[in-house]
Symmetry: C2
Subunit: 127 residues, 2 copies
């Protein structure tokens, strides 16, 4: 398991600004200026976040001195997906359990409204 890569990946994803930058880059490459504007961040703040993303392998930056566009590099996210996939059976099992609880509660509620399975709409015969 590429442990250190996963450390960098998860740490890079742990900041909302960095996830927002990735979401922006999913729509196409952008310069540091273009990234700074919508997020109302200073250029040094954006640069710092970009360095973390670059170190995690999540973005690549162009070589042109003036216009160094940032581009999304989503391949490492497959490792995150693979890691989390190992736990799917646990949350699915729990979703199933909640689903069964919902069914049970709905049935219980219906049974409450209609005490008899048959002739529930008919008036009950007095004892």
């Amino acid at each position: 398991m590429p442990t250190e890569r996963l450390d960098h990946l998860f740490a890079a994803l742990a900041h909302p600004a960095r996830r927002a930058i990735l979401a922006r880059l999913a729509a196409g490459e952008a310069s540091v200026m273009e990234l700074a504007e919508p997020f109302d961040m200073t250029l040094p703040a954006v640069s710092k976040h970009l360095k973390v993303l670059e170190r995690a392998g999540l973005i690549v930056r162009g070589r042109e001195a003036q216009w160094r566009p940032c581009r999304l590099e989503a391949d490492p996210l497959k490792e995150v997906a693979d890691w989390v996939e190992g736990y799917r059976r646990f949350w699915e099992r729990s979703e199933e359990r909640y689903g069964r609880l919902d069914d049970y509660l709905r049935e219980a509620q219906e049974a409450d409204r209609a005490p008899g399975r048959e002739g529930a709409d008919e008036p009950q015969a007095p004892p």
Copy 2:
């Protein structure tokens, strides 16, 4: 999007010891002592990691004063899976591209070995 929850989740997953603890708990609940032993960690170190995992909602701890077993709570990992799923098309597109490059290189290599499409095994007629 539950931004702060994702911050805590990704930060919690950014340490190999915490991911190892989750993997251990996937096999069944365990006490702090049981968690400390195989990872060769001190009890305070384990406790610190458990607090981070608990804050992220990834584990729950029993109430018994003496034996407070830790249990995996994998439901929040579905949020991580959902988040990363949004980028699947990017890494799949890139896998496809690499697949096509592989095909191209293999074909180019085969063409190199067998210059003619037919009769490649037969000796070439002298000019």
